[in-house]
């Protein structure tokens, strides 16, 4: 069976949105796909050596909040200082309790499965990110690098 190819563009840098690219990439690899993730804009947070991802209820009415908190603190309440770190802590506890993999674990599995991780050079420059802050085993490239892989990919996702 000739390898299928999956190309993903990861643009989001929050704890919740870190899941789809790493879940899909690791699973695709297990199914025999050649896989590449192109990290751009806020997605670059996902390839930092030290992950510090957060989840925010702010501007996210779809986010289920524990103990009916969204009723006590409608909209404005989500801007209360400390709400973001509280929600992040709660989310991480839930992730652990439900046996869902951590982002670190999924990312390690992707690296192990030789998923190609490409950081967008332009946004790295734009945000003044030091190369040292990013994982060692990634490539850097631009739009043309992405298309070199994605041009004949079977599945291409923008996340």
């Amino acid at each position: 069976m000739a390898d299928k190819k999956l190309a993903i563009i990861a643009t989001k840098g929050t704890l919740d949105w870190a899941y789809p690219p790493f879940i899909l990439a690791s699973t695709a690899s297990a199914l025999g796909y050649q896989t590449c993730i192109f990290f751009t804009f806020y997605g670059l947070q996902l390839i930092k050596k030290k992950l510090d991802l957060k989840v925010s209820p702010l501007g996210n009415p779809g986010m289920p909040m524990p103990m009916g908190m969204n009723k006590w603190f409608p909209v404005l309440g989500t801007t209360i200082p400390g709400m973001e770190s509280m929600m992040t802590t709660m989310m991480k506890q839930k992730i652990k309790a439900k046996g869902v993999a951590s982002i670190e674990e999924l990312r390690d599995l992707c690296v192990e499965a030789e998923v190609r991780l490409v950081g967008c050079q332009m946004t790295i420059d734009l945000f003044d990110i030091n190369r040292d802050e990013l994982m060692d085993n990634i490539e850097l490239g631009g739009a043309a690098t992405f298309f070199e892989f994605a041009g004949d990919a079977d599945v291409t996702l923008f996340i």
Binding site: M1, I23, A30, L31, G32, G99, V100, A101
Partner: protein, 77 residues
């Protein structure tokens, strides 16, 4: 109980970990050997069917026993 060559305990793990662990375990098996997987994720029932179909391995058996799911996966090639 059916025979198997290796066993994988994926209980308590959620998608996609049972599949990823199974794939890893299969790497250590030879052609025709059988992996038994225990899981608690209800989504794994459909996922192991899909995994077998896409990887060319055979799902010999998929059973449920009081909230636990057991699979027998034969490695082909």
């Amino acid at each position: 109980m059916a025979e198997f060559d290796q066993e994988l305990d994926a209980r308590g793990l959620n998608c996609p970990l049972p599949i990823l662990r199974a794939k890893k375990a299969l790497n250590d098996l030879g052609d025709g050997q059988v992996l038994r997987i225990m899981a608690t994720d209800p989504g794994s029932v459909k996922d192991f069917e899909a995994f077998a179909q896409q990887t060319g391995n055979t799902l010999l058996e998929s059973t449920e026993d009081s909230g636990e799911f057991h699979f027998l996966l034969r490695k082909n090639g």
